[in-house]
Amino acid sequence: MILARLALRNLLRQRRRTALTLMVIVAGFLALSLAGGFMAQTFQGLADAAIRGGLGHLQVLPPSAMEGDEAQSLEKALPDGEALAARLRQDPAVAEVLPRIQFMGLLSTGPKSVAFLGTAVDPILEPKYMASAEALKDGAKAPGGAGSRWLSPAPAAREVILGVGLARALGASVGSSLTLMSTTRDGALNAVDVDVVGFQDLGLRELNDRFLTVSLATAGQLLDAGPARSRLSIVLKRPQDTATEQTRLQALLPGADLKPWFELASFYRQVKLLYFAIFGFMGLVLFLVVLLATANTLLMSVMERVREFGVLRAMGLQPGQLLALLQWEGAFLGLMGSVLGMVTTLLLRAGLNALHLEMPAPPGTSHGYELSIHFVPLVYTLVALGLQATLQVSALFPGLKAARLRIVEALRHV
């Protein structure tokens, strides 16, 4: 403990230099932990968007669903999707099952037709569990979108909600009548007249330009779907159990694939990879800056104490104990830097979040979002441990230099 005390006193002796070094460490901590909090916000936002955008926590798919495209609607389908959904709803871990049909075709005003990607959903269950209402609210702000509402639950209602880009392309507005055209499961051409009841803004321009939503009843008539469904989105009571429930429920579904949302949300995975690459590189640079700055400080401190080290060695201090002394100094710098960094980060985070800053829309998306830097204890812990390790490494070279000093030369040092 005497070495630890000596190390601490040495740091306090050079207050200004120690303060400058601490500022570098605090800046590193601040940048890394704020970036971590921002990443956490982004990942959570993307995860929510994926889950509440229709994937649910788990999705039941036909076995070949992930291999190649469909030549016609419902070519790859769960033949009795409704019965399967009813069975899954009995499971105690399942909060709800939302059947969906994915299809494509042409949407026509008469003189003008545009290709679409459609999703048919349960008009009663969907708004309860998915983000339909938010998309509709944003869509209502688009030209012609005033009066947007959700699909009627009446089985006889033939209604459609259009992506804002698709509506613009067709010149449609709420109240317009359009014709949906597609092929049935048998390959026959079919059409259904629908009324536009709302616009939706899904946040991605490409989706807004092609996407529409109808009720399962409307798609059932257009595609002659019967009980077949493209997918079943499962909402779990405990989302944190997604992985374990996937394993358990898969065993109950021999004729279907069960995938967790994060395997299906390719955008989420791509953004996550991109962020890890960007912030990982930034982290490496910051760690390097901290490493060089602190190594320089400790080396200067060693050069100023050459004679003192000579005296300590003359008194019988082993070379390894001098190395340990410098390691203690690195450890104290890291500890103080991390504590100060944590306090500073929490204060700055609170300040930034209180400002309710609106972030610009990310590339490929249509609206921005409010900055909300998350507090992620794991990130803070990892940053603190990373900085601590960096400090120990940075103390290594000065420590070795001190340990290798020849005593007689050190004692002559002025």
């Binding site: 403990m1 005497i2 000596l6 006193r9 040495n10 306090l12 002796r13 004679r307 003192e308 005296v311 300590l312 060695r313 003359a314 008194m315 019988g316 201090l317 082993q318 070379p319 104990q321 005593i407 007689v408 004692l411």
Partner: protein
């Protein structure tokens, strides 16, 4: 107690060969011995060799009948920690520690528990007349007080041999004399051997034995 046998340690200094050459001497227990001679005569080099801070090119250092100059570095460190004490011209107290902590330092490095180290350090400081300066940092002590604290630090581990390099050179006459009196008294009452490198006549006058060096060679002893 301390025996140097045919010690040679040569090095280049300003293009000339310097050091000590073929020096043999013996210092008995409880003796205050002085290495005397002008600057560059090899006093400090010999002291460092005797203190195991450097290794001779030739010859051997024997301590209490045992050859110690050929020991590996780790063993030499242990020997310095437990059986040798050092006093330097520039005092060389650790500036961030108080007088008490400076004296406790070698004891704690030996592994003594803090209360025991504190007790022994207080006793050592009391013996050199610094019991009222225990918690003063070196910067708050006069030169004489710092050197007395350095002597206390050297003596607290109860060494066999204390090596002092020009201990009075940074002190005025009023402080140098009493310091040497203190060393002579400690040598007598504790049986500690002192080997002091100095060209100060006041130091030489108090020595029990004087070894005179010139150009790295022992020219006389009395």
């Amino acid at each position: 107690m301390l025996e140097l046998r045919n010690i040679t340690r040569a090095y280049e200094l300003g293009g000339e060969r310097a050091g000590v050459f073929g020096v043999s001497l013996e210092v008995p227990k409880a003796c205050l011995a002085v290495l005397a001679g002008p600057s560059g005569s090899g006093k400090t080099t010999l002291l460092q060799l005797a203190g195991l801070l450097d290794a001779p090119d030739e010859g051997e250092v024997r301590l209490d009948g045992e050859t110690v100059s050929a020991l590996p570095e780790r063993a030499r460190c242990n020997l310095r920690l437990r059986r040798l004490g050092f006093v330097f011209q520039a005092f060389n107290l650790v500036p961030v520690l108080s007088a008490l902590e400076n004296v406790m330092l070698p004891l704690q490095l030996q592994g003594l528990a803090e209360p025991e180290a504190r007790g022994r350090a207080e006793t050592a400081l009391d013996r050199v007349g610094l019991s009222d300066r225990l918690h003063h940092r070196p910067g708050q002590l006069s030169g004489g007080q710092q050197q007395r604290a350095a002597i206390a630090r050297a003596l607290a581990p109860e060494p066999l041999l204390v090596l002092a390099d020009e201990p009075t050179a940074s002190l005025d006459h009023a402080h140098g004399g009493p310091l040497m009196d203190l060393m002579a008294a400690l040598a007598q009452e504790r049986g500690v051997t002192f080997l002091v490198a100095s060209h100060d006549p006041a130091v030489i006058a108090r020595a029990h034995r004087v070894f005179r060096l010139a150009d790295g060679r022992l020219v006389s002893q009395d």
